[in-house]
Amino acid sequence: MTLLDVQNLWVKFPSRQGVFDAVRGVSFTLGRERLAIVGESGSGKSMTGRAILRLIRPPGIVTANEISLQGADLMQKSERQMRDVRGQRISMVMQDPKFSLNPVMTIGQQIIEAYRLHSKASKSEAYTKALEMLQAVSIHNAERVMRAYPHEMSGGMGQRIMIAMMLIPNPEILIADEPTSALDVSVQRQVLSIIDTLVTDRGMGLIFISHDLNLVADFCDRVLIMYSGRIVEVCDAKNLQNAQHPYTRGLLNSLPRLDAPRKKLEVLSRDPSWSNAPSVSGRI
């Protein structure tokens, strides 16, 4: 079942040197699955995520034939209608919890606000719901955390709080933009398994934006590989090690590996034809 259908998405930024195309004609669909978008910095993966939520502000220009969320075209919606989509139907976890939590509100206030904005719950209902949600993301002393301010939290805690806040309105789609790259490996696994259980339990669609190929191969179902604003390859996460495109191969080979020591790492040599080739469709 298709939750989200993106057709021919472009993101453009006019600059003094002419129009810069950050995303160039990307199409994909998302079902109840874990879809990864990987690529280097500047490949347009984060812009794709933001464009879906219409978070790109002028002078940036977003065009698409269609971004349809279960039949309703998001491109046609007004800013007011979009507010009902953001958070409630599609929510987004950003990269760094330090910059996405409000520093002068307690964690509790922020989660309760996020919940009451989208439902008609009373304050005390919202409080219990927020507590439950914090426990769901494995925060044990939830009552203390509710009273705490963001600066009192570690990075891993902050990211889990962000996930709790994003999942409390029970959205259909979660966009996670490098949710674990600011975290340690040990905490990373924890956060991922929390996202994983929540996504599978609730039957959500997940768009997981990352630059870490190994992580994505482990964690997701399907992978879109982006290069200079286009999708160059689509493959099943299980088969990522057998990817065909020279760019994907180059990325995989440039990783040092514990099980296969090498004197010298392979360096990616870029072919200009990669960025000119038309985008591969990620639609099913």
């Binding site: 990075g155 340690d184 490996v185 040990s186 990325l251 040092p256 514990l258 790492l265 360096v267 990616l268």
Partner: protein, 246 residues
């Protein structure tokens, strides 16, 4: 011969109730020409060890000796000629209003070199940048190029030991491979000794022969890379770390 010998090193910040012991009783030895890795999660004190060696963390006890000579509290200029450091974030470690030429030229001048002009050209060449980068400013460079400039600056006084604090964690994987190859080449060419901090075990496995696993300011295990590759860590924490990074 031991290039770097760290004995009972403790580093702390603050006094009284605010005192935080960032590193406690750490011991390790790095042989000349070897490459030593420090791994652990953030806050485990791995960068603090490097900063204490460089003199950037002031409160420390224990004994550090470089090439047999003990390091004193106030370090002479000759110390900085033999030990240099490369920092994590290439975006923050270069002065935004100094061109590459100024950055390298000033370092060379401070270390008393005479033929600065020729040396700047040579340094840029060594890190694979070439002459047309010489008069650029940091904002005109990519992350990988900036890290190359930072490495060139560290190489300017012709050091024997290079302390690398997560040199590639701010870079893309494709650029990471370039920088790691550059570091390997430089080490072979100049006979450098590396101490490398990283949270990425596979990077340390690629670059180093020995590594120390740190937790809460203490070195819990020192092992060689063969042990790491065979996943035969003995301490429970290093086992956990190994399992998490595969």
């Amino acid at each position: 011969m031991n290039m770097l010998d760290v004995k009972d090193l403790s580093v702390w910040f603050g006094t009284g109730n605010d005192r935080v012991d960032a590193v406690r009783d750490s011991n390790f030895i790095v042989k000349r020409g070897a490459s030593f890795g420090l791994v652990g999660e953030s806050g485990s004190g791995k960068s603090t060890i490097l900063r204490a060696i460089m003199g950037l963390a002031i409160d420390w006890s224990g004994a550090i000796s470089v090439a047999g000579k003990p390091v004193t509290k106030t370090r002479p200029k000759s110390f900085y000629k033999s030990v240099q450091m490369v920092f994590q974030d290439p975006y923050a470690s270069l002065h935004p209003r100094h061109s590459v030429d100024q950055v390298l030229g000033e370092t060379l001048y401070l270390h008393g070199f005479k033929d600065i002009d020729a040396r700047v050209v040579k340094l840029l060449d060594d890190v694979g940048l070439g002459g047309n980068f010489r008069f650029r400013y940091p904002h005109q460079l990519s992350g990988g190029q900036r890290q190359r400039v930072a490495i060139a600056r560290a190489l300017a006084p012709e050091p024997e030991i290079l302390l690398l604090d997560e040199p590639t964690s701010a870079l893309d994987v494709s650029v990471q491979a370039e920088i790691l190859n550059l570091l390997t080449d430089l080490r072979n060419k100049r006979g450098l000794t590396f101490v490398m901090v990283s949270h990425d075990l596979s990077v340390v496995g690629h670059m180093c022969e020995h590594l120390a696993v740190m937790k809460n300011g203490e070195i819990v295990e020192i092992m060689d890379v063969a042990t790491l590759r065979e996943m035969r860590a003995s301490h429970p924490y290093s086992k956990e770390l190994l399992a998490a990074s595969i």
